[in-house]
């Protein structure tokens, strides 16, 4: 379940639907849940994922060839939400595939498939706002992002429209590279906290047990995604799940 403010750090991880294959997605997700991950993003692969680094770009490229799509994502969601009721599944997608599907139908079908939240990086808060009553009625939390260069005025606007948690982009740039934690980062998180009581998820650059330790006590959620996809790509889903289990042990987050 999505944690409350000041609860213990939870790891959020990732599946690119169709990568390495649709069958393996199910197996990989079971492995993640068994390892102790209860927040999982299901990414709809897209031809032009502009906010992602090369790991996710290439995974999307491969996933499309393996049949990844909005429809495949909803089908996968229906299966995994039923199989793992203890976990929360978050649909992550760039806007165009959802727009082509039809946003209203997409939100309804996603809710019916058990999706609890949605991350759409290129759908700014202004575009989400008109959909809030619908999303609230369906019980889907729109997850909005804040970035280090954001103005206070805009954080306030995002905080007013966000549900579930706020995704704090840890540094300038795309997914999948190292971030330096420290005073500047702590001040940034503290600034966001003054605007919201929602839990905070830290993403972009969380790649090792040291990062998870550094974030313990600072945030409620750590998005451990690109590195996990690298494990999955290089060593297969079973091994990736084992490594995830070990990571949680090493970070003091298991159990």
């Amino acid at each position: 379940m999505i944690p409350q403010q000041h609860q213990k750090l939870q790891v959020m991880s990732h599946a690119v639907v169709g990568f390495p294959s649709l069958d393996e997605n199910e197996k990989a997700i079971a492995g993640l849940v068994e390892a102790g991950v209860n927040l999982i993003e299901l990414q709809v692969p897209f031809s032009d994922p502009v906010a992602d680094g090369h790991t996710l770009v290439n995974a999307c490229y491969d996933a499309l060839k393996m049949g990844g799509s909005v429809k495949a994502t909803l089908e996968l969601a229906a299966k995994v939400t039923k199989a793992h009721p203890q976990a929360s599944f978050i649909l992550m997608s760039y806007l165009n595939p959802l727009y082509r599907y039809g946003l209203e139908k997409l939100f309804e079908d996603a809710a019916a498939a058990g999706i609890k939240a949605m991350i759409i990086p290129d759908m700014p808060v202004e575009q989400i706002e008109p959909w809030l009553p619908k999303l609230d009625a369906l019980g889907i939390a729109p997850i909005l992002m804040v970035t280090p260069n954001i103005s206070d005025e805009r954080v306030a606007k995002i905080a007013a429209n966000a549900r579930g948690f706020i995704y704090v982009v840890s540094r300038m740039g795309v997914t999948g590279k190292q971030t330096q934690w420290g005073e500047e980062f702590e001040n940034y998180v503290a600034r966001i906290r003054t605007h919201t009581d929602l839990p905070l998820a830290i993403g972009f650059g969380v790649r090792a047990a040291e990062d998870l330790k550094a974030l313990t006590g600072t945030a409620e959620i750590a998005a451990f995604c690109s590195k996990y996809i690298e494990w999955q790509r290089d060593q297969g889903s079973d091994k990736a799940a084992e490594k995830m289990h070990q990571l949680l042990q090493d970070s003091g987050l298991a159990g």
């Binding site: 502009v50 290129d122 700014p124 954001i150 982009v169 795309v174």
Partner: protein
Amino acid sequence: MIRSDQGYFGEFGGRYVPEILLPALQELETMFNQLRDDPSFWQEYLSLCQEFSGRPTPLTPLRRLSKELGGAQIWLKREDLNHSGAHKVNNVLGQGLLVQRMGKKRVIAETGAGQHGLATAIMAARLGLQATIYMGADDIERQYSNVFWMRQLGAEVVGVETGARTLKEALDEALRDWAATVETTHYVLGTACGPAPFPELVTYFQSVISQEMKQQALEKIGRLPDEVVACVGGGSNAMGAFANFLEDDAVKLIGVEAGGRSFLPGEHSVRLLPDTGEDGIAQGYKTLFLQDDDGQLGDTHSIAAGLDYVGVSPILSHLSQTGRVIADSANDQEVVDAFKLLMKTEGIIPALESSHALAGGFKRAKQMSPDQHMVINLSGRGDKDIFNIAHAFPQPEWTEFLQREAARAQELENASKGEKS
């Protein structure tokens, strides 16, 4: 002139970008809005174009060709005579002045045919800025002469290996760079696409084309032309050629897209005609994209590297939908025929991109009468296309020349190694 309604042109346009890019776009918009209403800025821009790029470019009558086709009197607006050989430099010089005002020191750009990258590298050298140019790996192969020049000018050229390795991927990569460096870097977008305010901003700078065209037509023809024709890749030269005629309803505006090999998916780059582009939201804006039912952007083809973009200016999507701009297309063979015809009858070597406008224009001109006038925007010159043309019409003479040239280069390299050791 073109003014958006909060970034939208009808239903198209907008700003659909990851949160991280918003502050830079807002900063750019604020700066642009200040400068657009400042007549001294336009004068500064015009002076730079005149002193550095050779503006105004002439309006050239095609007397022999018009007679041969037996229809309208055809004129060319000679954007090929700009420094760097294409209209691209107009926009780039304008954005260079903006960069100076914003106090940034680095520019990035994406490029397809290489003309925009070359123009950006030229501008950066002239204004003392650091430049990084993203280019699809396949486009690098197709347009190596431009890559060579960009590097000589001091720009870093980065080959993009993801996806189909063309302009679409280069654009994604440039956006990723910008997300990481936005505080010090300006993204010199090359065409009238992308998130607001770029479509409007690029059109503003390119509108110098139709500003001159209008004045020159009044002087040389004594009235406005009956038709203005331009090729449409992203749409910047077309918007430049059309901008000052939008309210002159008697002037027909024709945009010619790349019909490629056929109308099958992946074989062309036609987005404005029925059953081709579908509305979508990607790469930061809403427009007509070539895409599948799942919203995945499609592959494209054109004989001209600069026309095979998967989206199109949201302004053109709107103008085409409202009927103000007439959409047309020319296939690869028609383009090559028009290219040859212009060279042989008028002694002008056009870019393959611009040859789409020629092909579309010549077809229409034949149906018009000799007292009518058509202006075709010749967006760029063709010498950069020498390798493509040589591939399209293989000649033993050319192959032999390349072999001799490669041998000479190898000899020089060996000699230089010998001297060093």
